[in-house]
């Protein structure tokens, strides 16, 4: 669409631009990609690989302990499909209002940083805890 010389410079600029964006994306993907896993998948992965991961699951009815001094909470995360598979999670920070037994949550953190006082297996130490917005009931209704 551009004149001959003009077109050349646009193509050169576009290549330069794409190179820059490509570099940014490549460095982002290498440095910032983490596993997005359900509890079952996380249990099947070597803990060494899970230094940084985001896990999805439901909060178990048993085993919710508020940290003292707070804020923070220890709880058991259950696999959404297969509640038999579970993982202890230790989270320090503000606990969302909608956190409760049965809530669907997303935790970010790493595996095996610290054993709990209870001394049970590996613990997932979470730096963020997010409960799914409960506004939309659809899932529960259909489930």
């Amino acid at each position: 669409m551009a004149t001959k010389g003009g077109k050349g410079i646009y193509i050169a600029a576009l290549l330069l631009f794409l190179g820059g964006v490509g570099y940014l994306i490549a460095s982002g993907v290498t440095n910032d990609s983490v596993y997005f896993l359900n509890v079952g998948e996380a249990l099947a992965t070597e803990p060494a690989k899970l230094k940084q991961a985001r896990l999805f699951g439901n909060v178990a009815a048993e085993g919710i302990e508020r940290m003292q001094p707070g804020p923070g909470v220890n709880f058991i995360l259950l696999d959404k499909e297969n509640p038999g598979q579970s993982l202890r999670v230790s989270y320090r920070g503000a606990v969302p209002d909608t956190f409760k037994a049965g809530a669907e949550v997303i935790v970010e953190g790493g595996m095996g940083a610290a054993p709990t006082a209870a001394g049970e297996g590996t613990v997932f130490t979470a730096s963020t805890l997010i409960t799914k917005c409960p506004s939309k009931y659809e899932k529960q209704n259909r489930g």
Binding site: A2, A94, K100, S135, K136
Partner: protein, 627 residues
């Protein structure tokens, strides 16, 4: 009632299919005067969709729990305003609202001078494409996401609306976003129609107002969503790069890119095919946004559950993309001009569009990464907020810098106003120097913030120095970019320089956060019929001088077992103190979170400019006005 509404929707679907066929036949047989019937037909369909929506609205107003969608989101204690918002609280209602907005927008478009200026052939193709889109939406509403399902037996009371949604944000944020999505159907269908009929740029002028209005709705919806999440949901951040937030940002990026290339298109008669493709894809991406929210394809904080609609939606997206690409590829235009040099206003508009498209691509890539990574990894990988910040923020900074220079360049080549360019450059350097001296040395934030200052300098100076910048439309566009500069400044400071503390305190105790001293004065309870409230009074002082009190609350609403935080702020144009009461401790203290957010309010001020200034850019009356 449900049955009546459902039958009305079925008739709308059948009518749309019939009109699609009618338009096709009229077109193939060369009897394009019959298009009048398509227009009237569409108005009739709009009437049907309005009637069905009216029935749902009436069911909400009368709290008729025989409607499953009313039962799911309303209860007897819900205030009237929030009862109405239940229209779009669910997956079904929000889709109906989208279809209603789409039908109404097109119904209005028919009466605009822009529509009448479209060449006959383009109009015919427009109706064909639009009827296909509308038929698909009506098909979804009658098959997979029916808002008129009956609850049997009729429940005595509803489930009620989640307290997080009982907020003014709920009144405006979802409908604005949906109106934005729906409004893009007009330029989107017109772009495909123009590609099919070989119309170079008339469609851009004809749909200009609708493009800008849709952009206004989408932009203000996104900004309001950020404010809601910051202020009311107590998440403390305005943007979390959650898939659902990203879903609205992707079409915003391509739509904004289009606004820039469209200027080159309608002013210089260039980039015609790029414009068509960009706008068609913007509409496709709006549909993709709703796919992300409804399909469960990626995990999100606030998505609807999967409702069986994923597969049809995805098929429709692929179909519409294919139609867009093929129609643009086959489009042959003869009267196209070439672009000017790269260092020109045209050149910079093109680079700005590349940057925006790249942003949309990056956000889309990040959002879909868990799905994409499955192609080589047995376990899905995702990208966290660091990825977006690392990749997107430099691109946003580039945008701000591009605008700082762009108005000072000539249309075809070179610099037209050296004073302005030098002033913008000087503003950048001085601002950067001042910020470094103040201790703000993070490179990206520094470039972003100084770029923001340069951008504002350009926006203000251009109006003073450039003779062509004083018309209403130019003023509007400079005001939008002034807003952009303010937002850049706000994000560059409030993002990396936010300081926060989460702490258990007892009445009388103090703690430090970001140079402020916070003291818990008092902790008390109040209760009313609808809720019980726990209230903390936090006194904030700096250098021994009290600057104010923040009063965050925790509320326990009737019918909800878990409490909700009511955030409190001590607003300021410099630092804003943001406080959340997390809960009580066992020994009678309070668990609180206090953040110091520097310059965060400039984001909202910039956002208001970004949302309202484009009204100045609209074309009023019948005048042909330039871009």
């Amino acid at each position: 009632m449900q049955m009546t509404a459902y039958i009305v929707m079925l008739f709308a679907l059948l009518g749309t299919l019939f009109l699609g066929g009618w338009t096709g036949v009229a077109f193939l047989t060369g009897r394009e005067e019959r298009l009048k019937f398509s227009e009237y037909g569409h108005l009739a369909i709009t009437g049907l969709v309005c009637a069905a929506s009216g029935i749902l609205l009436w069911a909400l107003v009368t709290k008729n729990y025989a409607f499953y969608s009313v039962f799911s989101h309303v209860d007897s204690t819900l205030e009237f305003a929030y009862t109405l918002t239940a229209f779009w609280a669910g997956s079904e209602g929000s889709l109906l609202f989208w279809e209603l907005s789409m039908a109404l927008c097109v119904g209005i478009f028919v009466f605009t001078p822009g529509y009448k200026e479209l060449p006959q052939r383009t109009r015919a193709y427009f109706w064909l494409v639009f009827f296909v889109v509308q038929a698909f939406f009506l098909l979804m509403l009658t098959c997979w996401v029916n808002p008129f399902v009956q609850a049997v037996p009729t429940p005595p009371d509803g489930k009620g609306m989640n307290p997080l949604l009982r907020n003014p944000g709920m009144i405006f944020h979802p409908p604005l976003l949906l109106l934005g999505y729906a409004g893009f159907v007009i330029p989107g269908c017109a772009a495909i129609a123009a590609a099919l009929s070989g119309d170079g740029s008339q469609w851009i002028r004809s749909t200009r107002n609708f493009t800008i209005l849709s952009w206004i709705f989408l932009t203000s919806g996104i900004i309001l969503g950020g404010w809601w999440s910051y202020m009311e949901l107590g998440w403390g951040g305005y943007w979390a790069w959650d898939p659902v937030e990203n879903a609205s940002l992707i079409p915003w990026c391509t739509g904004t890119a289009f606004l820039h290339t469209a200027i080159v298109g309608s002013r210089r008669n260039a980039l015609a095919r790029s414009n068509m493709l960009l706008m068609a894809l913007t509409f496709v991406l709006c549909v993709f946004g709703t796919y992300l929210v409804r399909s469960g394809v990626v995990e999100s904080l606030h998505a609807f559950g999967e409702g069986g609609v994923a597969r049809p939606l995805l098929s429709f997206i692929l179909f519409l993309t294919a139609v867009s690409v093929v129609s643009v590829l086959q489009c042959k235009l003869t009267d196209q001009r070439s672009l000017g040099g790269l260092i020109s206003r045209e050149g910079f508009l093109v680079i700005a569009a590349w940057t925006l498209i790249a942003l949309g691509f990056v956000v889309g890539l990040g959002t879909m990464w868990p799905v994409i990574s499955k192609t080589w990894s047995s376990k899905p990988m995702g990208l966290d907020a660091h990825f977006y910040n690392r990749v997107c923020l430099p691109l946003f900074a580039l945008l701000v810098l591009l605008f700082s220079a762009c108005p000072w360049l000539g249309w075809k080549e070179g610099v037209r106003d050296k004073r302005g360019l030098m002033a913008a450059g000087a503003a950048f350097l001085i601002a950067a120097g001042v910020f470094v001296a103040m201790g703000y040395t993070l490179p990206l934030a520094l470039v972003g913030a100084a770029g923001g200052v340069a951008c504002m300098t350009t926006a203000v100076l251009a109006v003073g120095l450039l003779p062509d910048a004083r018309g209403r439309k130019s003023l509007g566009s400079y005001a939008v970019h002034l807003g952009l500069g303010l937002m850049a400044l706000g994000v560059a400071f409030s993002g990396p320089y936010q300081v926060g503390v989460e702490r258990d305190v007892h009445p009388g105790e103090t703690f430090e956060v970001g140079g402020y001293t916070v003291k818990l004065n008092e902790l008390h309870e109040k209760s009313s019929a609808s809720m019980a409230r726990l209230i903390a009074e936090l006194e904030v002082s700096k250098n021994g001088k009290v600057i104010g009190t923040v009063v965050p609350e925790r509320r326990l609403y009737r019918g909800y077992e878990q409490p909700f935080a009511e955030v409190a702020v001590l607003p300021g144009l410099g630092d804003e103190i943001f406080a959340v009461l997390l809960g009580l401790t066992e020994d009678g203290g309070a668990s609180v979170k206090v953040n110091v957010n520097p310059l965060v309010n400039w984001i909202w001020i910039g956002g208001i400019l970004l949302s309202f200034a484009p009204f100045l850019v609209l074309r009023y009356g019948r005048g042909k006005g330039k871009e």
